[in-house]
């Protein structure tokens, strides 16, 4: 007997469209473009916030989550 489950909502977009979504999010919440915002998030700014988590998710889907070059000391 199968158990009840939850609804799964599919949301398929191209990498470019996910990057656009990231830009819209970043502009709306902290008034900057996604790549600039993401670099700050990866440095620790906005750590622990829903915004940082959502931006990271969108950048992952956009394929923009490659390791950053090592920052200069």
């Amino acid at each position: 007997m199968s158990r009840p489950t939850v609804q799964f909502i599919d949301d398929t977009r191209t990498a470019g469209e996910w990057l656009r979504a990231a830009d819209e999010l970043s502009q709306r919440v902290i008034h900057m473009d996604a790549r600039t915002a993401y670099s700050r998030v990866r440095e620790g700014e906005y750590e622990g916030t829903p915004f940082a988590a959502e931006l990271s998710s969108l950048m992952f889907l956009a394929g923009e989550d490659k390791p950053l070059p090592h920052a200069a000391e």
């Binding site: 489950t5 799964f8 191209t14 916030t49 829903p50 950053l68």
Partner: protein, 200 residues
């Protein structure tokens, strides 16, 4: 043994079919999961409506709070030349928020990041306590204090089953089914037997 499939979609569907009943039995069927994907090899699962960055609102014996669950997954060839695909977790994040403020820190969060940003040497699997009203929660330590927000306390791989149990037992969320403990135990057992090379 990880989740594998002859097509990427097969891997994602196996995971989806495992997760759906688990969430329904614990938190209830009313919370949807958004499956975001790039149409190729990446999926991102998020509990709650598409625009709810802080996740779903839960009621509990401690009052209401927000719970966010995110899993970033990708499929890779099982090995070079193989026709099989294997599911990998790139990141997971389970967080408890007091409100749905998009810039408020999570009170509690469990995270796994497969590739931390360059220069970050903390444990990939960790637990953190957030700041309250932008003030750090601290522990007296020797002549100073430990800022709990800055500690990446190691955890090991945290299953979603563990966090769901925490919500029901420690945070006082009412279980959505009477057999939730059995569902959690069965789900954990299945994970270790069928989806993972881990033993605990």
């Amino acid at each position: 043994m990880p989740i594998t499939g002859r097509q990427p979609t097969e891997c994602f569907n196996t995971f989806r079919d495992h997760l759906g009943p688990l969430l329904a039995a614990t938190l209830g069927s009313r919370h949807a999961v958004v499956l975001r994907n790039d149409g190729d090899h990446r999926r991102q699962l998020t509990l709650g409506p598409p625009n709810a960055l802080a996740g779903v609102k839960l009621d509990s014996s401690r009052g209401s709070f927000h719970f966010s669950m995110k899993q970033s997954l990708e499929v890779v060839p099982e090995r070079e030349g193989s026709k099989l695909w294997r599911l990998k977790t790139r990141e997971y994040r389970y967080a408890i928020y007091a409100t749905d403020d998009e810039l408020a820190e999570a009170l509690l969060r469990w995270e796994y990041i497969a590739e931390p940003p360059a220069g970050k040497t903390w444990c990939k699997h960790h637990f953190q306590i957030g700041r309250l009203d932008r003030k750090a929660v601290t522990l007296p330590f020797n002549s100073g204090a430990l800022d709990l927000n800055r500690l990446h306390t190691p955890t090991g791989f945290v299953l979603v089953e563990y966090v769901l149990r925490f919500l029901l037992t420690d945070m006082g969320v009412k279980p959505a089914s009477v057999d939730w403990e059995t569902v959690l135990e069965d789900s954990q057992e299945k994970f270790f037997k069928e989806f993972s090379g881990r033993t605990s």
